[in-house]
Amino acid sequence: MKEESNKDLIQVMDPDGRIVDKSALKAIKESDMLEMYRLMNFTRLWNSKALSLQRQGRMGTLASVRGQEASNVGMGLALGPEDWFCPSFREYGAMFARGIRPEELYRYWGGDERGARPLEGSRVMPVCITVGSHLLHAAGIAWGAKIRGERIAVMSSSGDGSTSQGDFHEALNFAGVFKLPVVFAIQNNHWAISVPVEKQTASETLAEKACAYGIRGARVDGNDIIAVYSTVKKLLDVARSDYRPALVELVTYRMDDHTTADDASRYRTKEMLAPWQGKDPIDRLRKYLSAEHGWDDQKEKGLIEELTAEVEQCVKEYEGAPHPPPEQIFEHTYAELPWHLREEREELLQQVGDAEK
């Protein structure tokens, strides 16, 4: 493994929760930090529960977000109320921050596509599985907003692997040429399934790629939620007010397998994981809150109990929801079903009806 580069890394809070850059704290209220802490913990509990349900056959294949909660929640909370968000598939925390209902995400990963419908008015795009393709949608949404004169920003999120895609290049190039109000967040979790980030690129950092497109680049300690939140927020503000696009690299680590269908021990040693064990994003904020804001064991226990109950309620709603009817597969293929799909739907219903007789 290559030595981790600290080049241009923005950090507010070190792994022990000590503040290294006081100026960044000015704009952040205690209530904001408590909200960050709550949402990171919720995301982790929601994620652990999903993994456990998956092992019991009660959930489909899904991508664990453990270790990336600060990047997730920090960027999600940084968005303005009218901003758009285009996630890939490891952004649960950011989606929750945008109001996406956690039981609906369970439903989606549990194989019921009705859970894919983003909350009305959330301005969140559905999960995007094909890597990097949605960066262009973020550029396009930002472009539409610019043409229409709506002062908003758009943010995409994708992984380090996405920076190798042609669409990454085209999206950043379009953003630069047309000065689009868009921020491309890259969660550099160091792995694209089994391929480490140093095999994705010979660049020292991902952030420095911004330079070639004439846009701003920033590199942030992605396990430091204060740094993620304040940096992304600044970049979004500038995108919104000055039409200056940006690329922001959030340096984090994927602590689990790629998905529940993966086995990281085939390509990743314990030694590789070790340096990141001590950089946990949730521990870090807890240490800070304990030292500076009177957070204690009792408050911690109360919060975890409350969030665990919320997750259990999500599971209940997810598992209690009726099975989608078979003909659901035809819905939303077109605005209006054409003749051939009406016929195919009849055929399916007939078949299902006969089977039930």
Partner: protein
């Protein structure tokens, strides 16, 4: 009414649509200052400005991917791909997103996007400039594919495509761009998608075709008329989802069917039509279904193009075979 070529009809239509709906944005390579390599977008930049008529960098996936984002946001983008053969850089965006974002968002976001591209052979062009890839797009759930056959048809179909809530690949037979002029209705003119056009009624044999092959079939029909064969010609216009009722009605009447398209034969639009006719009106058939199509080859360059591009002689030969069965 004015007499216009197809490319002028498309240009006029774009002017009228953009004047009426400020959500419409045109984007593509050389569509602005240059007015498009075929001049389909001439004058639009001057009239509507660089925010709405956008010369993009040379990146087809970028054009279509960004257009999808615009459409989701509430615009009505018309993306031009300079030649059909360059479409495949954007194919992932069409396949993975344009065609299925409505489904992927469970109805929250539609993609009212038109992708225009010059299409097909017959102009002695370069490699990758003479392809007929419509079947690839027809195969994608959620897509619509439209190919006009005359200037007036181009106007009516382009209008309906731009107004459609779903993504449409609008392929413009480049051989027809300046081949002939005809009267094109002025003002708003739309031809509903999914409805075929009865080009010529006849009682003996049905020719189902579209795009540049419609006039080829008309010549063939004139030829066999002299031999006493009365051919009916159905122009699909919307290649998918096509007008199955018009096809079966005609075949039920004539009992004979030839499908004519310039695209490769295997797994093509003709194959789908033949299968549906076999399923629905096999017993009306008096002869086997025939296909007159491009061969399953890479589109040849100028010197051999005519051997692949179906002409009226090939259609006449197929009519003879079918009538004599």
């Amino acid at each position: 009414m004015a007499r216009l070529s197809m490319v002028d009809a498309i240009n006029t239509t774009l002017h009228e649509l953009m004047a009426k709906d400020d959500r419409i944005v045109i984007m593509g390579e050389d569509v602005g200052v240059d007015g498009g390599v075929f001049r389909a977008t001439v004058g639009l930049l001057d009239k509507f400005g660089p925010d709405r008529v956008i010369d993009t960098p040379l990146a087809e996936s970028g054009i279509v991917g960004a257009a999808i984002g615009m459409a989701v946001y509430g615009m009505r983008p018309i993306a031009e791909i300079q030649f059909e053969g360059f479409m495949f850089k954007a194919f992932d965006q069409v396949y993975s997103h344009a065609s299925r974002l409505r489904r992927r968002s469970q109805g929250l976001y539609g993609v009212p996007l038109v992708i225009r591209a010059p299409y097909g052979a017959g102009v002695r062009a370069l490699e990758h400039h003479s392809d007929a890839p419509e079947a690839l797009f027809c195969h994608l759930p959620g897509m619509k594919v439209v190919i006009p056959s005359t200037p007036a048809e181009a106007k009516g179909l382009l209008t309906a495509s731009v107004e459609d809530p779903d993504p449409v690949v609008f392929l413009e037979p480049k051989r027809l761009y300046r081949l002939f002029k005809e009267e094109v209705p002025e003002g708003e003119y739309r031809i509903p998608l999914g409805e075929a056009r009865m080009v010529k009624e006849g009682k003996d044999i049905t020719l189902v075709t579209y795009g540049g092959m419609v006039s080829v079939c008309e010549r063939a029909a004139q030829h066999v008329a002299g031999e006493g064969v009365d051919a009916e010609i159905v122009d699909l216009r919307t290649v998918w989802p096509f007008d199955i009722a018009a096809i079966t009605k005609s075949v039920t009447k004539t009992g004979r069917l030839i499908i004519v398209h310039e695209a490769p034969r295997s797994f093509g639009v003709g194959a789908e039509i033949a299968a549906l006719v076999a399923e629905r009106c096999l017993l009306s058939l008096l002869a086997p279904i025939k296909r007159v199509t491009g061969f399953d080859v890479v589109p040849p360059l100028a010197r051999l193009e005519e051997y692949n591009y179906p002409d009226s002689d090939r259609v006449v030969r197929a009519i003879h075979d079918t009538m004599q069965f």
